[in-house]
Amino acid sequence: MNVDLIFKIAAIGIIVAVLNQLLIRSGREEQAMMTTLAGLIVVLMMIIQQIDVLFRTIKSTFGL
């Protein structure tokens, strides 16, 4: 079971939260927004692969 994925997503979320706070404190709101967006895209790319695996497994299991 691939629990590393959960830790990876949580780590990216925490890092992005810290970067967000730092950039907002130093008065760069746009870059903070961009950082959040970039992190979200990375996390979504990771999760999309797992969803693809899930769909393939369900398709092959239930003969859809």
């Binding site: 949580a10 769909f55 299991t61 239930f62």
Partner: protein, 131 residues
Amino acid sequence: MSIHLAGVIGAALTAAVFAALLRRTNSEYAVVLRTAAGVLIVLEILQAVLPALREISGLLSSAGVGGEYSGILLRALGVVFLTQFAADACRDAEETALASKVELAGRVGILVLALPLFARVASIASALVKK
């Protein structure tokens, strides 16, 4: 092969704790994290349920139920798994309307799957009435 229960529980609790941590600062990561945990757990369940499904289809075929009927049954089960997963993910993101739309889509899909069976039952009933 039995279900890896400790892994499922550990993944769920870890994801719950991290989602609670991330909810305060950026809630979109909490949504993604919950969906990832859901994908992992459903994959684990499917791996455990695969031998049981094979056993059940073997029992059905030995009981004389046609392969067509058990195929429709299994396909409906797959549709239920998928729509339940998607609807739960939407409900976690507090999109209740989207969740109910997904459930409606699943119901329509199962209805379309089961319509040939309804047609067959209706034809058998009409043949009995004519006798």
